[in-house]
């Protein structure tokens, strides 16, 4: 794998990457639980077409709109201590930028959504006021995936994690380390 320049001692970098990893695992648990709640929420809407945002199945679902942005914010703040994760011109990591933009779109759409449902009481997944919700979450998850793969690839490079045996996976890690997982132009 490509050797990145060592700007901080290896042992320090492994410890810092693992602290980021702790945040990522906690957020992964939240995301997994929300996958389950998709079914709970879906079954609620089978019987109750439009309801308050404060019904329990929605507390569970919406909790990840709070937890994941806060978690990524924590990762973004701590991320500054790991030079290899910096974006172009020492800016914030490109994956984290995408994640933040995605969640900003989602937060904006919460207001749009409530305005829409003030007049229209249906709760169909494909209505236009939901579009930016879903697109925002997808953009956020794409950025998060790029970031997570890069953290893992760096842990592999530092010898703290096991490299992928599949050559295609190994190639993906290599691309991630070179900042080319999604684009050869944007590091």
């Amino acid at each position: 794998m490509a050797q990145m320049p060592a700007l901080i001692p290896k042992e320090v970098e492994i410890q810092r990457l693992k602290k980021i990893w702790l945040i990522v695992i906690a957020m992964g648990s939240t995301a997994a639980s929300v996958e389950v709640d998709n079914f709970v929420d879906g079954s609620l809407h089978q019987t109750s077409i439009r309801d308050s945002a404060f019904t329990p199945a929605h507390w569970w679902l919406y909790s990840h709109f709070i937890t994941l942005p806060l978690g990524w914010a924590a990762a973004a703040i701590y991320d500054r201590k790991v030079p290899v994760l910096r974006g172009p011109n020492n800016s914030i990591n490109t994956g984290l930028k995408m994640t933040i933009l995605g969640y900003l779109a989602t937060m904006f759409t919460i207001g749009v959504n409530e305005m829409w449902h003030f007049w229209f009481v249906e709760e169909i997944f494909a209505v236009p006021n939901h579009w930016m919700f879903n697109m925002g979450v997808v953009v956020a998850f794409m950025g998060a995936l790029a970031y997570v793969v890069r953290v893992y690839a760096r842990l592999v490079e530092l010898g703290a994690e096991t490299p992928g045996e599949n050559p295609y996976v190994a190639e993906m890690y290599k691309m991630a380390l070179e900042g080319k997982l999604y684009s050869r132009a944007i590091p």
């Binding site: 001692p9 693992k18 695992i25 639980s33 709970v40 609620l44 309801d51 329990p56 199945a57």
Partner: protein, 120 residues
């Protein structure tokens, strides 16, 4: 190697072992206690959240639904707890398998008891 301001012996370059210790702070393999407390807090909060649902909104959230959510979330939290501790301790000489087994076992028993007797 470039070190942050305040680290390294003046002008000589390179990090001494005490510099490395200062830059690391608390080591991740020594965070098991904090992770365990966080897991237990998350589990109690999950019980509180679901209980609030079936005590205050029983028409929208039957007790059985609350217990279903509580059980599923406990499983997910337990997996996250296991990953956190195992990943943080890998590569070190630390081993907290006993603590993990004890805590997950205790929350499993607690979950079953709560699901059988609370909220009906």
């Amino acid at each position: 190697m470039t070190l942050p301001k305040g680290f390294g012996s003046s002008g000589a370059g390179g990090a001494s072992s005490s510099d490395v210790e200062r830059m690391i702070g608390r080591r991740v393999e020594n965070m098991t206690g904090m992770i365990t407390v966080s897991y237990i807090a998350a589990w109690l909060a999950t019980f509180g959240g679901t209980a609030a649902g079936y005590f205050y909104y029983p028409w929208a959230y039957p007790t059985n639904s609350g217990h279903y959510a509580f059980i599923v979330l406990t499983v997910i939290e337990a997996i996250g707890y296991l990953f956190c501790v195992k990943v943080m301790e890998e590569g070190s000489k630390k081993n907290s398998n006993g603590i993990i087994a004890g805590v997950i076992g205790a929350t499993a028993v607690g979950t079953v008891i709560i699901s059988l007797y609370v909220g009906f």
